[in-house]
Amino acid sequence: MMIGDALIVSAILFAIGVVGVLTRRNAIILFMCVELMLNAVNLSFVAFAKLHGVGGHVFVIIVMTIAAAEAAVGLAIVISVFRHFGALDLQNLKLLRR
């Protein structure tokens, strides 16, 4: 049963992405982990498209567009954070905690 196996691969990739987001401190690597999570969700959409028709493929294309927009805005934020603090350490970003 290939669909179940694809869903399990997707869940493993998603878990790896979550662990990366929760443990790393480098902002760029954190963004890449978010991209990995989006990719895992895309894989499960394609797997379900085998059961439910071609709508899943359309969802994947829209998710890719959202991911491109998110990467552009997120990396612009990363650049301005680097200009402000001179480093990408997320520990610097605690101005709101005071």
């Binding site: 990366g20 929760l22 443990t23 790393r24 690597i29 963004f31 895309n42 071609v54 927009a69 650049i79």
Partner: protein
């Protein structure tokens, strides 16, 4: 499902998982980005195995070709310094929390495994793989498609505004 296809499927699945593990353990952003490109190529192979060749092509073009290039470009632009001087891991509390979340997701995985998926045999995909996707995209999901174009415009304007050298006063 021929054994050849099955073998290819598991090969690409193992490639994706192994490359993802290597990606998440790398310290340098550039090697992490290159391993992530490897994950995306393996995923595109999986999409071909799952009868979605158009999505596979778009995956290579958009993810590996555009988004990851932007990531590598930003790494080059920022001049981060040596990888061993970069910030690496969070404090212990966050790592324990990440372990707990990982265990919860693994339990979720076992629950998914126990569910039996219905066996549905769709019609075998025709030779024209783009036509059904295009028909669906431009009829059923037309509103989402148009909204996506507006979103891309907003993202371009926002990225340019955020990355400017001086803020507009």
């Amino acid at each position: 499902m021929t054994p050849f296809y099955k073998f290819q499927f598991y090969l690409f699945a193992l490639m994706a998982i192994g490359a993802a593990l290597l990606f998440v353990t790398r310290k340098s952003p550039v090697s992490a980005a290159l391993w992530l490109v490897n994950v995306m190529f393996a995923l595109s192979g999986l999409y071909v195995m799952l009868d979605a060749p158009f999505v596979a092509a778009v995956q290579v073009l958009v993810y590996a070709g555009a988004i990851m290039v932007v990531f590598v470009f930003v790494v080059m632009l920022l001049n981060l310094g040596r990888p061993d001087q970069l910030p690496d891991l969070r404090e212990v509390g966050a790592r324990i929390g990440a372990g707990l979340v990982g265990i919860a997701l693994f339990a979720n995985l076992l629950a998914v495994r126990r569910e039996v998926l219905p066996v549905v045999e769709l019609a075998p995909p025709s030779d024209n793989v783009v036509l059904p996707v295009a028909e669906s995209l431009f009829t059923d999901y037309l509103l989402a498609f148009e909204l996506t174009s507006v979103l891309l415009l907003v993202a371009i304007v926002g990225a340019v505004l955020l990355a400017r050298k001086k803020a507009v006063t």
